[in-house]
């Protein structure tokens, strides 16, 4: 039975009610899309299915497969090398490998055109050296795969590196004593053991690919997300864009099922060895040709994902500095930061609330609602935006028709709606990270506090909160970074008088003024890079 009603009166408490209420409130955009499906297709639906849908499906699938394959190769090989080998400046390289996360993929896409396009920096350098080379055509699906892969591989690299670094040296020694070659050790033991992290990272990559709007739009590739925008804005058919969103949601849930199936029932956890034994991961020294090869492998993603785009942006930034560096830019940076900070605060608070409400609620099956509230991360921003517009339209119609009150101006131009959308989109980032850390806390600690006469809330502030401080800070920074980089959702829902660095960079690039997009982009990269450095520092301090 779903709920044990026998003890309803005894076990029902305010936490049960709160968890359901908060979760349902957060998941309104998803329900809105699902309900809208029953209203029938829009006027342009037939046109879309005849001319565009195949392209959306084909391009999105090719992008997912291509980017997945390339990020897997780049992410796992870089993670393996920095985890298993010792070389000079390793710690700096480990940090640099994360840095592509600081540059939103659509900005990397613009910079590549500046590097390799007609009259691009790269072409000019060769031309000055007396070598004539043709421009490298980047604005196609292969170029987009390249850009997205070098921009998104850190999602695979991060988790995989952690797993590789946790391997005890006994694992390698046991394998070698059994006559296993180094190659076989990597493919038959290391990779399968790291597979949950690799699959988890790849899933995030897929979500980012499906969420991408700026890069695909700039390169002229029709994907589901660009299609949803086009249907809603150019074709002015909200209902058909909801139909497209629903197909994408189905595609995403198929991906979720595939990921679950791939993870299977096997156990991948390494049992902790005797505490007296040193469970240390010894690194081998790199020498000779092997050193050159392996260092090249780790430098390629840093160069293509971070250094080259950054150089191009710096060149543009210097060229346009006088005209672009003004109070407007500072104001944009301030608005981006404020939006990010306020959203991150709300997200961390709500994620904590959902996690602890689930703990305190005695009707455990109802905890499934907290999972519904965290669906936002697997739903592309454009869909959430469309879902909110749909809900807003229903609400304004309702008030207008039944009460003759116009509330449209409150919803369509409200910062609160944008923050609400961000909260739903990114709450999973904080939820998963904080939940993982609460699970590591010994449950007996809070139970001891209850037995000593403290209630649940006081126990949280006196025991759990001090022990979770670092996890909360990490989650806060992760959400802040995501909000500052976010583009499609912001484009759909931002009030007219508010903008962000991400939106401004996109608007200039869309206007064929890609050089002028550089300074907002550089400001954004500087802010995100600082956050990543703080995060990296906190993680290292915690580890020590």
């Amino acid at each position: 039975m779903f709920l044990n009603l026998k003890h309803f009166k005894r076990d029902f408490n305010k936490w049960t009610l709160l968890i359901v209420a908060i979760s349902l409130f957060l998941a309104i955009p998803v329900f809105s899309i699902l309900i809208s499906l029953f209203r029938g297709s829009g006027e342009m639906w037939e046109h879309i299915t005849s001319y565009f849908l195949f392209d959306y499906i084909k391009n999105s699938t090719v992008l997912i497969i291509g980017t997945g394959l390339l990020t897997f190769i780049i992410g796992t090989s870089a993670a393996w090398i920095v985890s298993r080998y010792s070389f000079r400046f390793r710690k700096i390289i480990e940090w640099l490998l994360f840095m592509p996360l600081a540059i939103p993929s659509y900005i990397v896409a613009y910079s590549y055109v500046g590097l390799f396009g007609n009259g691009g920096t790269f072409i000019n350098i060769f031309s000055n050296l007396g070598i004539t080379i043709d421009r490298i055509e980047m604005m196609n699906i292969y170029g987009l795969i390249w850009v997205l892969s070098f921009s998104l591989y850190p999602y695979v690299y991060a988790g995989t590196r952690t797993i590789f670094q946790s391997f005890p040296s006994q694992l390698k020694h046991t394998a070698y004593l059994l006559g296993v070659s180094k190659r076989k050790y990597f493919f038959s033991i290391a990779l399968p053991l790291a597979s949950p992290a690799i699959i988890g990272g790849l899933f995030l990559v897929f979500m980012e690919v499906l969420n991408d709007y700026g890069a695909a739009k700039y390169y002229g590739i029709s994907t589901f997300t660009t299609g949803i925008f086009r249907t809603w804005t150019a074709l002015e058919d909200l209902q058909s864009s909801i139909y497209l969103s629903a197909i994408l949601v189905i595609l995403v849930f198929l991906l979720v099922l595939i990921v679950k199936w791939l993870k299977g029932r096997r156990s991948y956890s390494l049992k902790k060895t005797n505490t007296n034994q040193k469970n240390k991961n010894y690194r081998s020294e790199l020498k000779g040709l092997k050193k050159i090869t392996y260092l090249s492998i780790v430098f390629v993603p840093i160069i293509f994902g971070f250094i080259l785009p950054l150089i191009q942006l710096l060149i543009w930034g210097i060229q346009t500095f006088d005209s672009m560096f003004n109070s407007d830019l500072i104001s944009l940076a301030y608005q981006s930061l404020m939006l990010g900070l306020s959203t991150a605060m709300i997200v961390v608070f709500l994620a904590l609330l959902l996690i602890y409400l689930s703990k305190w609620n005695y009707f455990k099956p109802l905890n499934v609602f907290s999972k519904v509230a965290t669906l936002g991360y697997v739903i592309p921003g454009a869909i959430i935006g469309v879902g909110i517009i749909r809900t807003s339209k229903s609400l304004t119609d309702l008030f207008s028709f039944h009460y003759d009150i116009e509330i449209g101006h409150l919803i369509y131009n409200s910062l609160l709606v944008l923050i609400y959308a961000y909260v739903f989109r990114f709450i999973a980032v904080a939820f998963n990270s904080i939940e993982g850390n609460t699970l590591k806390l010994n449950e007996n600690l809070s139970e001891s506090s209850y037995l000593l006469g403290y209630g649940k809330i006081k126990t949280f502030f006196k025991i759990d909160f001090p022990l979770l401080k670092n996890a909360l800070l990490s989650s806060f920074i992760l959400v802040l970074i995501d909000v500052m980089k976010e583009l499609p959702l912001t484009l759909i829902l931002k009030p007219y008088d508010i903008s962000t660095l991400a939106v401004r960079a996109y608007e200039y690039a869309e206007d064929e003024r890609v050089g002028e997009a550089a300074l907002p982009a550089l400001f954004l990269i500087f802010l995100i890079g600082s956050m990543i450095s703080i995060l990296n520092y906190r993680l290292r301090v915690n580890k020590d």
């Binding site: 039975m1 044990n4 026998k6 003890h7 009166k9 005894r10 076990d11 005695y362 010994n442 007996n444 600690l445 139970e447 001891s448 506090s449 209850y450 037995l451 000593l452 006469g453 403290y454 209630g455 006196k462 025991i463 001090p466 022990l467």
Partner: protein
Amino acid sequence: MKILEIENLSKSFDSKFEVVSGCTFNIESGNICAIVGESGSGKTTLFRLIAGLERPDRGTIKINGTLMSSDKFIKDVKDRNVGLVFQDFSLFPHLTVKENIEFGLKKNKNEKVEKLLETIKMENFPNRYPHELSGGQQQRVSLARSLALDPELLLLDEPFSSLDTQLKSKIRQEIRDIIKKIGISSVFITHDILDALEIADEIIFMDNGKIIRQCLIEDVFKEIKDEKIQNNMVELKRNAELILNALKNK
């Protein structure tokens, strides 16, 4: 006077088999009672039900004559006035010894903490953090923390399982002395019958979630009918000297 009255208590998880099944027993006030059973016999769940950390499917629990839980009513953990010493001691890692002990106290903190530190012979370590203490010291701090609120009933979860053999015998006696000095009714669970023989006044044997026998310590070896207890006896006879010493000390 009975400190603990349990009637027809049952608990299952995920509606599968009952981990605690129809348990009924009483414990006299002022006694130390040991609940003995193998791993998976349901003794930890029974303990958590008494403390209020789990919700029973059916049955009633009364502490000192006051109803703690029934099918329709459940008293919150924080209002039960029960002390529990966890198997892993569960000291708050970010608080010192003194802060751990005074955690639940609202008034007379210093006076009470000093007295308890003296009782557990830890007067010299009030400012140490848990990770700076030995296993035995951590256990005594955990005991003092539970005793600080003057609970009506003290529960100890496998109190000696994480101690090595040499330390075990010493700690057993220390714990018994502290409990008897304070005069608090106590229940502890253990899988080791020697723990029970050395410090308990009465024993409850548990198997497959059911109470199979309850008796005073001096009656343990009389009229043994249960096969499981008889099997334990064979094991026990190999340690005859220890048992004799344990019985002599009673």
